[in-house]
């Protein structure tokens, strides 16, 4: 027994010792960082020269990395990205992890760097975790951009956003008022999670819209978190319907929330009394849109998003930058924010009973 404890302590000491030498050695290599930098710089040159030879025999290589592959949303953006590759004559590599795991995503990006891409566009699972690897990509002379979800702003050359947060929030608020048919009623707001930055921006914008243009709309409670789960949204909506029998509308942000809310409305048979508007994918919302339990689903077109990402990636590789109001074929007019790198695809898209079946995502 003593021997075992001895070995365990050896493990600990070894580890602590190792940890000790980590910082010292790394400080050492930090001092000699210039030489390290040079070597990595020279390998970077080698990389870029091979990259050039790559572009000699082919054309521009653009990598698009989604959060994960194999879900309808990112399958739709893949179709768009690949179509853009065909239209614009660039090689598109659409690849990502099979699970939404930040570690797996970083590995995919590292392999793409080895592969010698001209542009890498990432939809980060965790913006902080891709920071080191994007830095590495930039050191190798690869253009770096984010799409769908912003990464560190300092690091990327371009940032592609689906919609303007302000406009999106206001648009959802308008749609809800339109669906309720009255500018004077009680509504509740469901959200995915209280700390989700983009959802909070949308809700703020929606509240602003209510305050400025529809002052008689009363929001009955603080925004209600639903843990990004349809089941929770369903439960919370049932509770809401019980607590506020005179509720007129539900605004549900985050993609599962409108479905849960609509499910509750459908089950209670109050489609005509309670309007539900939220951000959801058309295929998911179709069954609820049909009987009016969900009035409008608002989102953007992921196919176009994939297309735009590749189109902008090509521009970056060719050393161009997009301009405000520029017309992108098959996408439409884009907006470029004041910082010169944030590109907004366009206005949000509404999915209703009439058009939901036209989409395959």
């Amino acid at each position: 027994m003593k021997k075992l404890w001895l070995s365990m302590t050896v493990v600990f000491f070894g580890l602590i010792l190792l940890a000790g030498c980590v910082s010292e050695e790394s400080a050492g290599s930090g001092n000699s960082g210039s030489s390290d930098g040079e070597t990595s710089g020279s390998s970077g040159e080698g990389e870029s020269s091979s990259g050039e030879s790559g572009s000699d025999d082919g054309n521009t290589d653009i990598a698009v990395v989604p959060k994960l592959v194999g879900i309808p949303y990112f399958n739709a953006s893949e179709t768009g990205a690949e179509q853009a590759g065909e239209d614009l004559g660039v090689n598109v590599e659409y690849t990502g992890p099979t699970e939404a795991d930040a570690a797996a995503q970083v590995k995919v990006i590292e392999d793409l760097i080895s592969q010698g891409m001209d542009t890498i566009a990432v939809a980060p699972n965790d913006p902080a975790s891709v920071e080191p690897v994007l830095k590495k990509a930039k050191e190798q002379g690869i253009n770096v951009m984010d799409w769908d979800t912003p990464a560190d702003k300092e690091l990327v050359d371009l940032s592609v956003k689906q919609v303007d947060d302000e406009e999106f929030g206001r648009h959802m608020a308008e749609k809800l008022v339109e669906a309720m048919g009255t500018e004077d009623g009680k509504i509740a707001i469901l959200t995915g999670g209280l700390s989700a930055a983009n959802l909070n921006l949308w809700i703020e914008a929606a509240k602003k819209e209510f305050n400025e243009n529809y002052p008689n709309i009363e929001i009955v409670s603080e925004k209600i978190p639903t843990e990004e789960k349809q089941q929770v949204a369903y439960q919370k909506t049932l509770d809401l319907l019980k607590s506020y029998p005179d509720l007129d509308g539900v605004l549900a942000v985050s993609t599962p929330a409108p479905l849960g809310a609509a499910q509750a409305v459908q089950e209670q048979g109050v489609q005509d009394e309670v309007s539900v508007v939220g951000s959801a994918l058309p295929t998911d919302s179709e069954p609820f849109l049909e009987d009016g339990s969900l009035d409008t689903a608002v989102l953007w077109n992921p196919k176009k998003l994939g297309y735009l990402t590749v189109a902008l990636g090509k521009m970056l590789a060719e050393g161009e930058m997009p301009e405000d109001g520029q017309q992108i074929e098959n996408v439409g007019e884009i907006t470029v924010k004041d910082d010169g790198k944030t590109v907004i695809m366009g206005p949000p898209q509404d999915f209703t009973k009439e058009n939901a079946s036209d989409f395959d995502f």
Binding site: M1, K3, L4, S7, M8, V11, G14, L15, I16, L18, A19, G20, V22, S23, E25, S26, A27, S29, G30, S35, D36, T39, S43, G46, E47, S50, V69, G70, E93, T95, G96, P97, T98, E99, D101, A102, A103, A104, V106, K107, V108, E110, D111, L112, I113, S114, Q115, G116, N125, D126, P127, A128, S129, V130, E131, P132, Q140, G193, L194, S195
Partner: protein
């Protein structure tokens, strides 16, 4: 008889074969930048696979191992973001993991609940605890020196994280083959009743197995958090079933009693070469999973039949000898 290669050596040859094949047929696989890229990708997964292997040798499984890693990463991250130094943060990270391992160990060894049930429960439990602490957000912003653990070079050539992995490969090898505990781990895995009646305290052996696995998970977590400069509830969650696959591909008997460190390491290398090579070829990610799954099934079937064959042979030879 004398020229017969062990299961592990065959696997090692397969790994070398894949490496050579990939180098020949995949452009840029053998480039210096890709080789160093792979050296950085190996350690985090290698450590978790080693931990999983030790548990599987006892006939158990640790489904909570990646969440132990994430939990330990969260512990270290919280310390650092609250102004503590790197060393205390690492120690707290390891202590967090050991606490998780001790919990698994107590329930498995003292109460005697099957490991698959215990660790399935603790997997969900740890995930819940991490979610409660972080509310699903990533914790990031560590000191620059910390990032050198996962990203730095030792003497400017070998990644530091790879050295850490080498250290634990050797340590695990020594512990399993040379220490009393190691021999008891194999004994317990082959026949726990016989081990108990030989005067071994099974519960102590098991307890240390789960502690050791969680220690490896913690080291892996430190490398991961340092490499990605961030920790989140699902950090490394994709390694969970991969680590079981690597251990089993490495020849570890899922019923316990057999398993070699080198086998697991060869399996980890095979996974690494295939994943990286196919990524470089531009293959779809799901194809990578298909290939790895196929290799796993082929090797396991092969092992099954070769075991059966050698057992038959073993049954026959004594007669001849007699």
């Amino acid at each position: 008889m004398n020229a017969k290669l062990s299961k592990e050596s065959i696997l090692g040859l397969i790994a070398i074969g894949i490496f050579v094949g990939m180098s020949l047929f995949t452009p840029r696989f053998f480039s210096s930048s890709n080789l160093s890229n792979m050296m950085f990708q190996l350690p985090e997964f290698g450590l978790i696979a080693l931990g999983m292997m030790v548990v599987i040798i006892t006939g158990g499984i640790d489904l909570s191992i990646t969440y132990i890693a994430a939990f330990s990463g969260v512990g270290a991250a919280l310390m650092m973001t609250n102004g503590f130094g790197i060393l205390p943060a690492i120690i707290v990270g390891i202590l967090f993991a050991l606490a998780c391992g001790a919990f698994n160990g107590i329930v498995v060894s003292r109460i005697g609940v099957p490991p698959i049930l215990v660790t399935l429960g603790t997997m969900v439990l740890f995930e819940g605890v991490i979610l409660a602490i972080t509310s699903g957000n990533a914790i990031s912003g560590f000191p620059d020196a910390y990032s050198l653990i996962g990203n730095g070079y030792y003497m400017g050539i070998i990644p530091l994280s790879l050295l850490i992995l080498l250290f634990f490969i050797i340590l695990t090898g020594i512990l399993l083959n040379k220490s009393t505990w190691g021999r008891r781990v194999y004994m317990y895995g082959s026949n726990d009743t016989a081990t108990l009646f030989s005067g071994v305290k099974n519960s102590k052996v098991l307890m240390k197995v789960y502690l050791y696995a969680s220690l490896l998970a913690a080291v892996s977590a430190i490398i991961m958090t340092s490499r990605y400069n961030s920790v989140k509830v699902d950090l490394g969650s994709s390694y969970l079933l991969q680590s079981v696959a690597a251990a089993v591909l490495g020849g570890t008997n899922i019923h316990g009693g057999y398993g070699k460190v080198m086998g697991t390491i060869y399996a980890v290398l095979i996974f690494q070469f295939i994943r990286n090579g196919l990524n470089l070829m531009g293959a779809h990610s799901s194809l990578v999973d298909v290939v790895i799954g196929a290799i796993l099934i082929v090797v396991l079937t092969f092992n099954f039949f070769s075991d059966k064959f050698s057992r038959k042979k073993a049954e026959n030879t004594p007669e001849k000898a007699a």
